[in-house]
Subunit: 398 residues, 2 copies
């Protein structure tokens, strides 16, 4: 049998993160690589109660559901979004298998081969994979700690006529940064003027440190007198638990309707068990106190990592304290290739994600993504000792 | 905002079945349209117990899982497949969000725009949608009550050089028919000789009536001295419950690996709550006694429908008693267009699925799909009275 695969498979490279996760399975490696929430804060009793409540409703809870999603859950999420000054109805929303599927479905209905999508530099690794699988051409836009460079954005729009821009403006993966209000409003204005759809990916928005006010989402800034210019997606993976694989997309009702048609072909609908349980969780569990708990615990862990970073004697290192999320972006001297460094690090018993995978073009080779949510302080101290041993092997005398 | 959708959206027509389901929602319409299993036989207590057992394992059950699927569930399914004389390991298997996703993922990695896929006439409506969304060219192969016409299959392979053939050889949707052994073996031989991959979709195989021996699946006939020529997919939707949205694909390890990469981009993984619960169900519930129950109850319902069909005085009607599954294919005189008839039927308060949607080309307009699993006998009698009133309006004097 001679298999005749499609051209598409060339783009389905396995994610570096997941390859590393496989590499470290069963070994005593301290992993700062994954993007895993901390199991310790999974509200398992509440989730269990929520499932039990679903079963109390009777056998019909096990039947097929709507492609668009379990309607009471969409109503719960609409209420949840009100707290973020986002006002949407159930017809403006689609439930997805994680926010990852929202990205894929939007690409399916919006991107033809060769279409340009603008992305941040660096950007979310799996989004690059998805867009490449749809044969999009990805172009990076420059940015700094405050967000995308608006001049470069306008320039790239003129140069490439992109259909879409993909951004993670709040506590980004991998860079851990957050756009300020001016950049958000500016990008929105520029994109709407040029009919460039914004895909705002917001998995980490709730994980805000320091107790201050949230910067408004780009979606909430869009008063859409001429139609909604943003599709916003988020997920329960970071605020409840990943196993439930439930995310959502909101946007213009026509865009959502097309995404639902694509979803109907892709998998008919997502697990309704999980959707019904999440609705029960909204009804009977104080999800906001729970988010506060996760937030403060993650902030403690973030500070443990930045404390350790401050103590390292790695010449040329650069990093910024994140205002939320799960990651710190660490830059080392330019002559260090973190893909090479990873091999040494794994020998020492510690793992991270090399920065290279997070670039759609012109990759930066001297950076790495460090996760601070999944490792306790004892492991973290030991992990940094191991990382230091690996780095010392490649550091050149100053 | 001017939306610039992809070419793909033209192919995402909403399924006629689901549009009808929407039409009938909240109305007192007796629906013979859906492909719904009967809620009455959902093993809700066992499913509830299974979820409780999952929660007993601790917080890590709520963490991210493997794209390929929860390994113990894959082991359980491998054992389950042994009963069908299919011998596979966990690396030959991918867990999907229903078998629908298996079809989509295989199309993603195997089909380039313009590639030809051969299908049965009629065939599963949603498969047509999926393949069209990947811009495949669909060509129907003739068949009869015993399966695909092998002469026509060989002819179409020579004529169109298809990459793949999609078949539902066991208790098909919509035709309710089952291929005999000779056609299965013949199609396998012809396809392997010509490097045409067979996608064998088997959601209904367990729902066998009459207690006889099952005809072997095409997959089990493939002794693959030169590599596996079949990808087989099935689902828990019909033997446990649809809400868990869990299906699986088995095939050559390389094909499965490529499908897993596509799934990693599409949605990372399916709900691990559902997967873990299904594994517990295999461990602690007699799933085979349950299947026997469903089987015998559905056979009773099938006979109730065939009894009613026998009593109708619709000149020119044709139907065959199904040997399993959920559907009867009813043909009316050629001058009757069942899409037109549906409007009259809905006015009378009964729904079915017009046959036209199940054809990739040269549609038959005078057929309909009737579901017998979801309606009790009282409703069924009333439903047939209503259907009769609608049909009498369009019947011409013989």
């Amino acid at each position: 049998m001679n298999y005749r695969f499609s051209d598409t498979i060339d783009s389905f490279k396995s994610s570096a993160v997941r390859e590393i996760l496989k590499l470290t399975q069963g070994k005593s490696i301290i992993s700062l690589a994954g993007g895993l929430p901390n199991e310790q804060y999974f509200p398992i009793d509440a989730v269990r109660e929520a499932f039990l409540r679903v079963f109390e409703e009777g056998k019909q809870v096990l039947q097929y559901g709507l492609t668009e999603g379990f309607t009471p859950l969409r109503q719960s999420i609409a209420k949840h979004m009100e707290r973020k000054h986002i006002h949407v109805g159930v017809d403006d929303m689609l439930i997805t298998t994680g926010s990852q599927q929202a990205i894929d479905l939007l690409a399916r209905i919006y991107i033809d081969p060769g279409d340009v999508i603008l992305v941040e530099r660096p950007t979310y690794l799996a989004a690059i994979q998805i867009f490449q699988s749809h044969k999009a051409r990805l172009v990076s836009v420059d940015g700094d700690a405050d967000g995308m460079n608006l001049t470069d954005l306008e320039l790239k729009i003129k140069q490439y006529n992109p259909k879409m821009i993909y951004v993670v403006p709040t506590f980004s993966n991998p860079a851990g940064k957050s756009w300020n209000l001016e950049r958000r409003q500016g990008a929105l204005d520029i994109c709407k003027r040029n009919d460039v759809l914004i895909l705002e990916d917001d998995p980490y928005g709730e994980l805000r440190f320091g107790g201050g006010e949230a910067v408004p989402s780009i979606f909430s800034l869009d008063k859409h007198p001429e139609g909604c210019g943003v599709v916003y997606t988020s997920t329960f993976s970071k605020i409840v638990a990943p196993a439930l694989r439930t995310g959502w997309a909101i946007g213009d009702a026509e865009v959502i309707r097309q995404m639902a048609r694509a979803k109907q072909a892709a998998d008919l609908h997502s697990s309704t068990m999980d959707q019904q349980a999440l609705h029960q969780l909204f009804e009977h569990f104080d999800i906001y106190s729970h988010i506060d708990l996760v937030r403060s615990e993650y902030e403690i862990r973030m500070r443990q990592m930045t404390d350790l970073l401050s103590k390292q004697n790695w010449p040329g290192m650069r990093w910024t304290e994140p205002k939320g999320g799960m990651f710190i972006w660490l830059e080392l001297p330019e002559y260090i290739d973190t893909e090479q460094l990873l091999k040494l690090a794994v020998e020492e018993g510690v793992a991270f994600v090399p920065g290279i995978g997070f670039f759609a073009d012109e990759p930066q080779r001297n950076a790495m993504r460090l996760n601070f949510t999944h490792t306790d302080n004892v492991q973290l101290v030991e992990g940094f000792a191991r990382l230091d041993r690996a780095i010392q092997k490649v550091l050149q005398p100053v």
